[in-house]
């Protein structure tokens, strides 16, 4: 059974994490050096988050439909995304196994992977604050 019951739950946690990162004074400028628009397309439940990471511009996160044109598209099960933000997914392995599929200049996204290190505890805290130990334990 999937961890998230519907798209709204995906947006409430993973979407919210992206929104927090977009406003983070220390991390946001580093992520924006990727200079790209990336769209995460999730399955089970079907959902989509589009993130603008353009150097020198304000960040933007669209949960669901968007007018932004993505340069990189990453597709995966929402469960894989959840496990990634808990620090439990190795991106290179996930790409090799086809658990994550990447379309576009993937190097721009791989560049960001080391920056995600301090984000894992934040995601965990986000779930804890909301009393979602079930999501922590399930993964």
């Amino acid at each position: 059974m999937a961890y998230f019951k519907d798209a709204d739950e995906v947006y409430a946690y993973i979407g919210k994490l992206f929104e927090q990162l977009a406003e983070d004074e220390e991390l946001a400028p580093k992520f924006r050096k990727a200079n790209t628009i990336v769209q995460y397309q999730y399955r089970d439940p079907e959902s989509q988050i589009t993130v603008k990471l353009i150097d020198g511009e304000d960040g933007r996160v669209d949960c669901g439909e968007t007018t932004m044109e993505p340069e990189v598209v990453m597709s995966m099960e929402a469960d894989t995304a959840h496990r990634f933000w808990l620090g439990k997914v190795n991106v290179t392995v996930a790409l090799a196994r086809g658990q994550m599929k990447a379309k576009g200049p993937v190097a721009k996204i791989l560049k960001l992977v080391p920056l995600t290190k301090p984000v894992f505890p934040r995601y965990r805290a986000l779930l804890e604050q909301d009393g979602r130990e079930d999501l922590l334990e399930a993964a």
């Binding site: 808990l86 599929k101 190097a107 721009k108 560049k111 080391p114 995600t116």
Partner: protein, 403 residues
């Protein structure tokens, strides 16, 4: 950091949680094989062959020998595309695919170096599945059965005859080409890109200039060393990497210095390059890619220069990493306690004897180019696979040391 995360430095010994190894290309190696190209390629389903090459290779007369070999097997050469540049592009791949369609081809035969072979791979994907070269970009995204989750659909048969001993593209499932409109390099990797056949015949490198033999040989050596110490190591690739290094130890200098006179050394270097290739690389490649893109440093030359500096840096990172370099040191009879320094010095000496530059400044890289190079290296996918975690300052220091 949590165990198993994307950022863990994977242990370099023991039984791994996961690795994947594939090598589906039939390799034939030996003397006088070009004359049986058709006989061998027929076994892969080829009938109407479209040859992909470049003008330089065609000018050596090698393509004519291959064409004769194709015809001798009862196959037909329906066209020869010799417009592949040194650094191929999406436009070239589209043009090549269209020419193959126009010629009524049913298979591709690449005769050349990495650029030619990668062009043939991408052109084959466009030829088979339609669309343009730009649309092929991505990892494991080629069309599959069962709504994209099943077995990848076959492409037209592709055979490769490498004319340098370095790239290993003849047995890899990856291709890298330039998109000149967006001024970026795009990567395509999936199982159908494995050529069906690779023919390794030292006749193809007989007239290779010594400088190119040296640079491409150092590229193969870098693949072998980086593949062995990468966090994406595997027991399968370990075996290939270490044996490739033994062959390189015994043949690289001979192949460069004796060239045309030493068929055995040239043949063995083709095999070494073939064994060494892997997509599990590290910071040497992360540093060399931007040096090539921004300052035109030939890939093998950049690898030869950067390799010793990365070895010193990585070996100082942990005992685990140093131990992997010790395994490599054994092959070269190096057993000093400071393995990083000893192995790095050995390689610098080799590079010097091969007549290649040992400093990036000798290859045209200016000091004020370092910040942009650092940004390029940090953005290169191979950085994630280096055994020691890298940051901007690490790369800046390494580039300064290599300058």
């Amino acid at each position: 950091m949590e165990a198993g995360s994307a950022l863990d430095r994977t242990p370099l010994r023991g039984f791994k949680d996961f690795y994947q190894y594939a090598g589906t290309t039939r390799v034939i190696a030996g003397r006088d094989l070009l004359s049986s190209t058709g006989f061998e390629f027929q076994k892969e389903g080829a009938r109407r062959v479209f040859v992909v090459t470049d003008e330089v290779i065609r000018g050596t007369g090698l393509v004519e020998k291959v064409e004769a070999g194709v015809a001798d097997g009862g196959l037909e050469v329906v066209g020869v595309y010799d417009k592949v540049p040194q650094d191929s592009s999406t436009h070239v791949c589209d043009d090549c695919a269209a020419a193959a369609k126009e010629a009524g081809a049913d298979s591709f035969l690449a005769v050349g170096g990495g650029s030619v072979m990668d062009t043939a791979k991408v052109a084959d994907a466009v030829f088979t599945h339609g669309g343009g070269a730009r649309e092929q970009e991505g990892f494991f995204l080629m069309p599959r059965e069962d709504d994209g989750m099943g077995r990848p659909l076959d492409t037209a048969p592709l055979a490769c005859i490498p004319t340098t001993a370095g790239t290993g593209s003849e047995v890899s499932m990856a291709a890298v080409i330039k998109d000149p409109d967006e001024k970026i390099k795009i990567e395509i990797a999936d199982f159908p890109l494995f050529p069906r056949l690779a023919i390794l015949d030292p006749e193809t490198t007989r007239t290779l200039p010594p400088k190119i033999a040296a640079a491409t040989g150092m590229d193969a050596m870098t693949h072998a060393i980086e593949g062995y110490v990468s966090v994406d190591w595997s027991a399968h690739q370990d075996a290939r990497s270490l044996h490739a290094l033994r062959i390189i130890r015994d043949n690289l200098e001979r192949a460069v210095q004796r060239g045309e006179k030493d068929e055995e050394a040239r043949g063995n270097m083709l095999i070494a390059a073939n064994l060494a290739i892997t997509i599990a690389l590290g910071s040497v490649h992360a540093m060399s890619h931007p040096a090539g893109a921004q300052f035109g440093v030939p890939h093998g030359v950049a690898n030869a220069i950067n390799l010793p500096h990365v070895i010193r840096h990585n070996a100082a990172g942990s005992d685990d990493i140093a131990d992997r370099y010790r395994d490599i040191g054994e092959i070269f009879d190096i057993a000093e306690p400071d393995i990083g320094e000893a192995l790095a010095s050995h390689i610098t000496g080799l590079v010097d004897r091969l007549g290649l530059p040992t400093r990036l400044s000798q290859a045209g890289v200016p000091e004020d180019g370092i910040p942009a190079l650092v940004e390029g290296a940090m953005g290169d996918g191979t950085t994630l696979l280096n055994p020691r975690e890298m940051d901007e300052e690490d790369y800046a220091e390494l580039y300064r040391a290599a300058l």
